[in-house]
């Protein structure tokens, strides 16, 4: 009976998750442009080319920097906002809504929104920097700033989600434990450091995993804001896969990059599961 009940879901997962992955692994060993009748078998050539390509390492570095900063910024920022939201005031409801709102906006819209804000000629950035007598950086048009532009826009979008998850978790913390801690004289930073933060470890762990995976998959904001450029200065691995597959129509290379991304995420997740389960158990 159990087998019959899980069969539909199992079939769906096999069809839509595992089969494409295997199919993709096959494509990574071929040369194909999506148009020719059939792919040509090239063995490991796509992987050899990929690991000999200096651009690939730049993109890997970009992916690591993007993931690191977006996860750190959203977790620290989200926790800080959640702590503020947990202080109940008359405008708490409005504040919660406003905090979560950016997460409800589609990524493409966020990209366009920030494209206008970053515009050094007539955007908000120009106004903000002019307040300090400075010119706005060319956020999306120079390599120096383009990666930071997508980090800022992406973090802004995800911050609300992280904050709301933390906020809900904080409300669920056992009140009696905090009461006891206060009776023992714990206040402010000490209370947060020794009580709140450790109790939020499972949530932090969840946000860390989902944050890393979501960052590694970020696409729409990059597509609308910088298209990975100039050069590859703001290209992440996901963007590079898209570009290879659907702009250059080099399906073999794109599939090989996808497999590398898959392996990286698999390794990161295994490490997190092992470290995380220990932490949570503690």
């Amino acid at each position: 009976m159990f087998s019959i009940l899980i069969l539909p879901n199992l079939a769906m997962i096999l069809t839509f998750s595992y089969w494409p992955t295997l199919y993709n692994a096959f494509f990574s060993l071929t040369d194909w442009d999506f148009v020719q009748p059939s792919p040509i078998w090239v063995g490991l050539k796509n992987y050899v080319d990929l690991f000999q390509d200096s651009e690939f390492y730049l993109v890997l570095r970009n992916t690591a920097v993007f993931t690191f900063f977006t996860v750190i910024v959203t977790i620290i920022g989200g926790l800080a906002i959640a702590m503020l939201l947990a202080q109940r005031t008359k405008i708490s409801g409005l504040a919660r809504t406003m905090t979560f709102a950016p997460h409800m906006i589609p990524g493409a819209v966020v990209g366009i929104l920030w494209m206008f804000m970053f515009d050094p000629q007539y955007g908000l950035s120009r106004w903000a920097f002019a307040l300090f007598g400075q010119s706005s950086p060319q956020w999306t048009a120079t390599s120096k700033w383009s990666l930071w532009a997508i980090i800022i826009a992406y973090s802004w979008q995800r911050l609300g989600f992280v904050a709301i998850i933390y906020y809900c978790a904080i409300l669920d913390l056992p009140a009696e434990v905090f009461e006891a801690a206060r009776m023992d004289g714990a206040r402010g930073w000490r209370l947060f450091r020794h009580m709140t933060y450790p109790l939020l470890h499972p949530v932090t762990y969840f946000l860390l995993i989902t944050g890393i995976i979501a960052s590694a998959q970020a696409f729409d904001i990059i597509a609308t804001l910088t298209e990975g450029g100039p050069g590859v200065s703001s290209a992440t691995l996901t963007w590079m896969v898209y570009q290879k597959a659907f702009i250059d129509f080099d399906i073999g290379s794109a599939a090989a990059q996808s497999m590398v991304l898959f392996v990286i995420l698999m390794i990161v997740t295994v490490i997190q599961v092992r470290v995380g389960s220990k932490k949570v158990d503690e």
Partner: protein
């Protein structure tokens, strides 16, 4: 990169999650057909001569009641906005001009989107009847036997002879014609005539980069919204204009199947631009150079002739146009741009014949002239220039004359730029100098090493085409 070739993205589900959220990048290929979707060997062998192929049916098409009972054909058009409205007007005129054929058009936004959707359509074997790809970007589909030869439809009334001759070779491969010119263009130098007048500069605009560098300090003295005006807005995808620049500097990106980017002129040209932009501060890398131009932030920018009608409507100043700037002498060679019409090989000869009738209609001088007037694309049919529509237009807006006059300088782009991957890499090299001020010589050296293996991959296709 061609004029309207935007690499804006249609969202695609790229990564499938595995298990507890581990990403599996699967390219969203689950919808694809099997590994070998090829037509049979016999069919492939006959492909160059066969006009139809079984198994490929027509994509869904909506037929208004008033046109019911006709042969229906569908055009997936890479146009939007003003240009798409102009296209619809042409199609309505065609549909009303006879009672046998109904031609429908569906906007696919831009070339990049059309490329993706047509690729998917071929996999699904549900295709439109007509497609429209820029320059040589149709070769990939020709190699896959997806396009039908048009030569059998040519007669005294309609043949390649009716079109501007420097635009017809791009539609041919191995001695056959697969594309007839339609929305063709050249790149232009657009400038703000009002700001030029304010700076005391000639209203005809500059003719060379050296001349423009002398004019630039006068333009920079003008303030726009509290900031000094910039002389020129460059973009991250300027390869199309770069093609003219490298020619002006005496070089080429490639010569037949040899990449020649590192032979000096490209580094020299990029070095000159580096000084113009970063040392002198005359230009800058913009998010969208033409938007900055039309909004008055920059005094000049590059864009296709196809943007002329739209820009004339939207800009709140007098637009001036000039030939692309040369290095030391005026009127450099410019790459041909824009796209032409192709018939897709599918299951119906009747529909293909109907497509040819549409092409003939669009090649009438009056239709070509109206298309030119409504969009800014060239009046690609030679006789269109003699129509009252074109003559009156040129009287009313001399900017339309510039593009026509520049046609004599237009020629097909270098072979390596026939393909998207290399174009993307040239754009990256240019952007690293234009935007970041990186050393041109090292960027060109890197580009050469990237382009060479790409050329190796495409050499066969180039030889096939050139061997016509």
């Amino acid at each position: 990169m061609s004029d309207l070739l935007q690499t804006r993205t249609s969202r695609r589900a790229m990564l499938g999650l595995l298990g507890a959220g581990v990403g599996a990048a699967a390219l969203g290929l689950s919808g694809c057909t099997g590994v070998s979707t090829a037509s049979s060997a016999a069919e492939a062998g006959d492909a160059k001569t066969a006009t139809t192929r079984s198994g490929f049916s027509q994509a869904p098409i909506k037929v208004p009641a008033k046109y019911a009972g006709r042969t229906n054909i569908l055009f997936w058009a890479p146009f939007s906005g003003v240009n798409y409205l102009a296209l619809q007007k042409q199609f309505t005129q065609f549909n009303d001009s006879q009672d046998k054929i109904f031609a429908a058009t569906e906007s696919q936004a831009d070339y990049a989107t059309l490329y993706q959707k047509f690729t998917a359509a071929l996999q699904a074997k549900v295709v439109p009847d007509i497609v429209c790809f820029p320059e040589h970007r149709w070769l990939q589909f020709w190699q896959a036997d997806a396009l039908s030869s048009l030569d059998r439809y040519f007669d005294k009334e309609w043949s390649l002879d009716v079109y501007m001759h420097n635009y017809t070779p791009e539609g041919q491969a191995a001695g056959h014609t697969y594309v007839v010119p339609f929305a063709r263009s050249t790149p232009l130098f657009y400038f703000n005539r009002d700001l030029f007048a304010k700076a005391g500069l000639p209203e005809t605009g500059p003719t060379t980069w050296a001349e423009y560098a002398e004019m630039a300090p006068d333009l920079l003295k003008i303030n726009v919204s509290g900031k000094p005006l910039k002389a020129f807005a460059f973009g991250a995808t300027d390869e199309w204009y770069g093609q003219s620049h490298i020619w002006a500097w005496g070089g080429k990106f490639s010569d037949r199947t040899t990449v020649t980017a590192d032979q000096g002129p490209m580094a020299e040209w990029l070095g000159w631009m580096n000084t113009f932009i970063h040392k002198n501060g005359f230009g800058y890398m913009s998010q969208d150079g033409f938007t900055d131009f039309t909004s008055g932030v920059s005094a000049a920018a590059h864009q296709s002739t196809a943007a002329l009608a739209g820009a004339t409507k939207t800009a709140k100043f007098n637009i001036g146009t000039a030939f692309l700037l040369g290095k030391d002498s005026a009127g450099p060679k410019v790459p041909t741009g824009g796209s032409g019409l192709s018939i897709v090989r599918a299951d119906s000869k009747e529909r293909q014949d109907a497509c040819a009738e549409l092409f003939k209609f669009l090649a009438r001088p009056e239709q070509s002239a109206q298309w030119h007037k409504d969009t800014g694309y060239l009046p690609i049919v030679i006789a269109a220039a003699q129509t009252s529509i074109v003559k009156n237009l040129q009287k009313a807006n001399p900017n339309f004359v510039t593009a026509l006059n520049q046609v004599k300088n237009a020629q097909s782009a270098d072979t390596i730029t026939w393909f998207d991957g290399p174009v993307d890499n040239i754009n990256k090299a240019m952007a690293s100098v234009y935007g970041d001020g990186k050393d041109p010589k090292s960027q060109v050296a890197t580009l050469q090493t990237v382009l060479e293996p790409q050329m190796k991959k495409f050499a066969g296709a180039i030889e096939k085409v050139k061997g016509q």
